[in-house]
């Protein structure tokens, strides 16, 4: 898995770690049941503090992306689990919200937007 830290993005480091791990899980690069890198080892290698990685892992566990097993490590959850579904549904809603704002600004009608959605959906499913 590719996991790099930008020092100029302005995005907090724990967020950067979270986003990249979440993306790797969503894309299927990290499979269900796979272990995340050991927290302390990752902190050492990324040259960030242990608490920073702890925070990223804990928040991923809250989102249902991974599961903390005391003393064993952090494991990727199945993408079908309920918490993860809620997170993904939230992301979909947010993206649609942005899409609606852009569509309004462009003067599109709801009907046109629906048509566009169907088109994009079909393209994704093929």
């Amino acid at each position: 898995m590719r996991l790099i830290i930008s020092s100029v993005s302005g995005e907090p480091i724990y967020e950067q770690i979270k986003t990249q791990i979440r993306d790797a899980v969503l894309s299927g690069e990290l499979k269900a049941g796979e272990a995340l890198p050991s927290l302390r080892k990752l902190a050492k290698e990324l040259r960030v503090s242990v608490l920073t990685v702890t925070r990223a892992y804990n928040e991923l566990a809250d989102e249902g992306v991974v599961r903390n097993v005391q003393g064993k490590g952090c494991f990727v959850m199945d993408r079908g689990n309920e918490a993860m579904r809620r997170t993904l549904a939230g992301q979909a809603e947010q993206s649609l919200d942005e899409a609606c704002a852009a569509a309004r600004a462009a003067g599109m009608t709801p009907k046109e937007l629906h048509g566009l959605l169907d088109e994009v959906w079909a393209r994704r499913s093929s």
């Binding site: 907090p12 302390r40 050492k44 040259r47 503090s49 608490l51 925070r55």
Partner: protein, 309 residues
């Protein structure tokens, strides 16, 4: 967000007070360093950082308070505590005429868990020759020799007093790497004082900021960085309310920098929570560790503004 801690704290200081005849007082210092983490100790010169370290090592007598290392009182159990602490001072504590090899032979006698092979490996890694005399070593090399000793007797707590001052960027980076490797097993911890806040941004889990002999902040480093914001604006934008609420203030002819607590931001700007960052005509920026130290010590700051009693 903090990991669970069942073990004793690596270091627990409670109500620690030391009064000097000179008038300086280290006043009611309380802090906790959980096992397995790195804490940075920051503050201007003369704030009390070295006094705190000397008190932990029982090199000066405290007037009040308690200090526990790994759950052991640092005076009642001094021998056990010292066995478990590795120390790096800002200048060498070895006899100038000793050789590097002699330092190892002397230290072996002090520590029952001394590791000859480990010490030799650290010397090789740091490029320290056994035949060199202490006085022939550069400042950076002397620091590395102290570090080699500190890492070779199975210490559980490393205490470093300004280890990075006077080191070049490569040596500082090596030191931070070593500390990260040191705490990796999870049962070893580090307390280090520094003026170089870039070192903290990389590796410190916790931060204790001391100024004027008192603790201004102690806790997770990220929370420290999130608790302050820097407001910048023109001279006429500095309202009385803002100046009163600022915990640090610097005025200049064409503007001002005000340090405020993030929780006060919305109230100061007279706006609802959440939008204050976005809609103010003032520039609202994250405050770096250096910003906080500089502004809380700026002359313009009203005495005790925002400080907790």
């Amino acid at each position: 967000m903090t990991a669970p801690h069942q073990e004793p704290m690596a270091l627990s200081v409670t109500g620690l007070t030391k009064r000097y005849a000179s008038g300086f007082t280290l006043d009611d210092v309380t802090l906790d360093l959980p096992m397995g983490y790195i804490m940075g100790l920051i503050g201007p010169n003369g704030a009390g950082k070295s006094t705190l370290i000397k008190l932990i090592l029982n090199m000066v007598r405290r007037d009040a308070g308690t200090i526990e290392v790994l759950g052991l009182d640092n005076i009642a159990r001094e021998e056990d505590v010292k066995r478990n602490i590795g120390v790096v001072f800002d200048s060498s504590y070895f006899v100038e005429t000793w050789t590097v090899g002699k330092v190892g032979r002397v230290m072996r006698g002090f520590y029952e868990r001394w590791d000859d092979a480990g010490f030799a490996a650290h010397l090789r890694r740091f490029g320290l020759e056994e035949t060199k005399k202490i006085k022939e070593l550069s400042r950076g090399m002397q620091m590395k020799l102290m570090l080699a000793v500190a890492l070779s007797h199975d210490a559980r707590l490393l205490i470093l007093d300004e280890p990075t001052s006077g080191l070049d960027v490569i040596a500082r980076d090596e030191l931070m790497d070593l500390l990260a490797v040191y705490i990796e097993p999870g049962d070893r911890s580090v307390l280090f004082s520094t003026h170089i806040t870039a070192d903290l941004e990389r590796s410190a889990d916790f931060l204790t900021y001391i100024t004027g002999g008192r603790v201004y902040y102690t806790g997770p480093r990220e929370e420290f960085e999130e608790s302050f914001r820097l407001l910048k604006g023109g001279p006429e934008e500095l309202t009385g309310a803002l100046a009163g609420a600022a915990v640090g203030l610097r005025r200049y002819e064409t503007g001002f920098d005000a340090l405020v607590r993030t929780e006060d931001l919305a109230r100061i700007l007279g706006m609802p929570d959440g939008v204050a960052d976005a809609v103010s005509s003032l520039a609202v920026e994250p405050a770096s560790i250096d910003d906080v130290i500089l502004l809380t010590n700026a002359d313009d700051t009203a005495p005790d503004a925002g400080k907790e009693d």
